[in-house]
């Protein structure tokens, strides 16, 4: 059984901008540990000489488009579904230190 320490859970929470109580962290420690166990079977496969695969459609190339402007200004509609906006900006809690 793989274990992760509670500090790693705290760090992941911090990176994800999530806040957990100590009890929740304990629960997550167990759950994340079991997820890691579940996928750790992959580590048993010998991958010597196998190049990393980033897509299952390995022979295809990504689709590209021509450099043309196709979108029109719908600012008001987007701002309306934001929690807060003014003067054409989205308003968020202050982020500069």
């Amino acid at each position: 059984m793989s274990t992760i320490d509670i500090d790693l859970v705290a760090r992941l929470a911090d990176l994800s901008r999530l806040e957990f109580s100590e009890a929740e962290k304990k629960t997550l420690q167990g759950e994340i540990g079991r997820i890691l166990d579940f996928i750790s079977v992959l580590e048993e496969v010998n991958t010597d000489g196998v190049s990393p695969m980033s897509s299952t459609m390995s022979a295809e190339t990504t689709r590209a488009r021509e450099d043309v402007v196709t979108e029109e200004d719908k600012r008001d509609a987007y701002l309306k579904i934001a929690p807060a906006s003014e003067m054409g900006f989205y308003v968020v809690p202050r982020v500069v230190e």
């Binding site: 980033s54 190339t61 003067m87 202050r94």
Partner: protein, 481 residues
């Protein structure tokens, strides 16, 4: 100046906005200066259910830039997600490239003021999208305002090897890179508008040490001048800290151009855990050899080729050739001014010293020069034909800057034609010698310093129009008696 026993080590990361109409993964406009948030769409905003579709012009731009930097083009490259939370990044990740960038292992030659050249390695170029912009200085001070027009704008991040050893080299590197991008027309290189931005990784070490010192990353460098000043400051700061027995922390520092210092950005340690992984929304980018070959054929004459040609065809030295080939506009100006078979070295000097000096002072670009290339050529022609002296030419040039008039007209209107008539010069010398017998005697008894005084007097008498070489010749002969 950095202490002799320390060595500076710098690597630069340049973000160049690719000149496109639309964004990297969406059809939103990239035009500069639009009203906030008027150039966004669900893809840029990170709405659920959208898929990014790559702009093919950006791929072409990155490959052509790679070719121009003598780099290896990776036939397969992979887009990756760089994860972090910030309000100006709606998706919670930036689409970038990580372990398989589109371009690797390039190099570029920079030309330094002492006439030497140096090669700087290019580690990689990758394609990525820009974030939006947070504005902190309007409205309520408890909030920030976010403009997402820039979110999704295409960038190339061009990363150098830590090959740079002086602040001057760093400035020369950015200048050269900007010139190349402009020649390729893949980026406008405008640092004030943010279409080219630079971060510097700076460390110092004792000379002879082979391991690198701990580096800091300096952000917010929005001009070549600031890049040079920030690196100079940071190197001094690090040396002083080491000498005082302090530790250098690997950290991000911000350049404060007002105070001329770099300062630490606290609490950003976690921000460097980006948890990159291949973006499942985008397949690997695979390039066809035919496309690469076709793009290779579209490469223009680049600064280095232009420089070599200037050195070969016009016998310019390395530095002069590098400066004049530094932008297409200055190269074009130079070659246009040469029309009619002017002396290239003389034309180069007039452009680099007088014209660039005047443009600098008035904050103008060479494209806004009040003096046309043809006019500058005519002015040099007047000097070559001995119609005016180099000294008078400077007066004429001042006038040209003011009025944009042809030099011939100014010379004629102001009666500045040089006196090349031996008789007239001789007469002026005779008059002066006759009126100043004491000084003549003084000179003849060995006081060489009086000679300069005589030159001045004759020049004054001829309103500066005497041909200097002829004056010199005649004066010495007559004084020596």
């Amino acid at each position: 100046m950095l202490r002799q026993d320390y060595e500076l080590v710098v690597g630069l990361e340049v973000h160049a906005q690719v000149s496109t109409q639309s964004k990297l993964f969406s059809g939103s406009s990239t035009a500069f200066g639009a009203e906030p948030n008027t150039q966004t769409c669900p893809i840029d905003l990170g709405m659920p259910g959208v898929l990014p579709v790559l702009n093919d012009k950006v791929v072409e731009a990155a490959v052509r830039t790679g070719l121009a930097l003598n780099a290896h083009i990776n036939k397969t490259s992979v887009f990756a997600r760089k994860n972090y939370f910030y309000p100006d990044l709606p998706k919670g990740y930036q689409i970038s490239q990580y372990d398989l960038p589109i371009v690797e292992h390039g190099r570029m030659t920079v030309d330094l003021e002492d006439g030497s050249s140096k090669e700087i390695g290019i580690t990689r170029i990758h394609i990525e999208e820009d974030a939006g912009k947070s504005v902190h200085d309007i409205g309520d001070e408890k909030v920030s305002h976010v403009d997402l027009n820039r979110a999704g704008v295409p960038l190339m991040e061009i990363v150098s090897e830590p090959d740079i050893r002086t602040a001057e080299e760093a400035g020369a590197y950015v200048k050269k890179l900007r010139a190349i991008l402009r020649f390729l027309e893949v980026c406008d290189g405008n640092m004030e508008q943010g279409s080219m931005r630079c971060d510097a990784n700076v460390s110092v070490r004792k000379r002879g040490e082979t391991k690198f010192g701990t580096r800091t990353e300096i952000k917010n460098l929005n001009s070549i001048r600031n890049i040079v000043r920030a690196i100079e400051y940071e190197a001094e700061r690090q040396v002083e800290a080491i000498e005082n027995g302090e530790k250098i922390y690997q950290e991000t520092r911000l350049w404060d151009a007002g105070k001329n210092i770099t300062r630490s950005m606290r609490g950003k340690e976690n921000a460097h855990d980006y948890r990159y992984f291949p973006d499942p929304d985008l397949l690997p980018l695979r390039l066809k050899e035919d496309d690469i070959e076709a793009w290779k054929k579209t490469l223009p004459e680049l600064p280095d080729q232009l420089k070599d040609r200037f050195m070969r065809d016009y016998s310019l030295n390395n530095y002069d050739a590098a400066v004049l080939s530094g932008s297409r506009e200055s190269a074009r100006f130079f070659e246009a001014a040469l029309e009619g078979g002017r002396d290239p070295k003389l034309v180069a000097n007039w452009i680099m010293v007088e014209l660039f000096g005047a443009l600098n002072k008035s904050g103008k670009d060479i494209t806004e020069s009040p003096v046309s290339p043809a006019q500058l050529g005519q002015l040099v022609g007047l000097i070559e034909k001995n119609t005016i002296s180099g000294k008078i030419a400077k007066t004429v040039f001042e006038e040209m800057l003011q009025s944009s008039a042809d030099p011939e007209e100014i010379v004629k209107a102001k009666g500045l034609v040089q006196i090349t008539d031996t008789g007239a010069i001789e007469k002026a010398i005779d008059d002066i010698m006759a009126a100043n017998a004491d000084q003549v005697a003084d000179f003849r008894s060995g006081n060489e310093r009086v000679y300069g005084w005589f030159v001045g007097q004759v020049m004054k008498a001829t309103q500066g129009k005497a041909n200097p070489a002829m004056l010199n010749d005649l004066l010495r002969k007559k004084l020596q008696g």
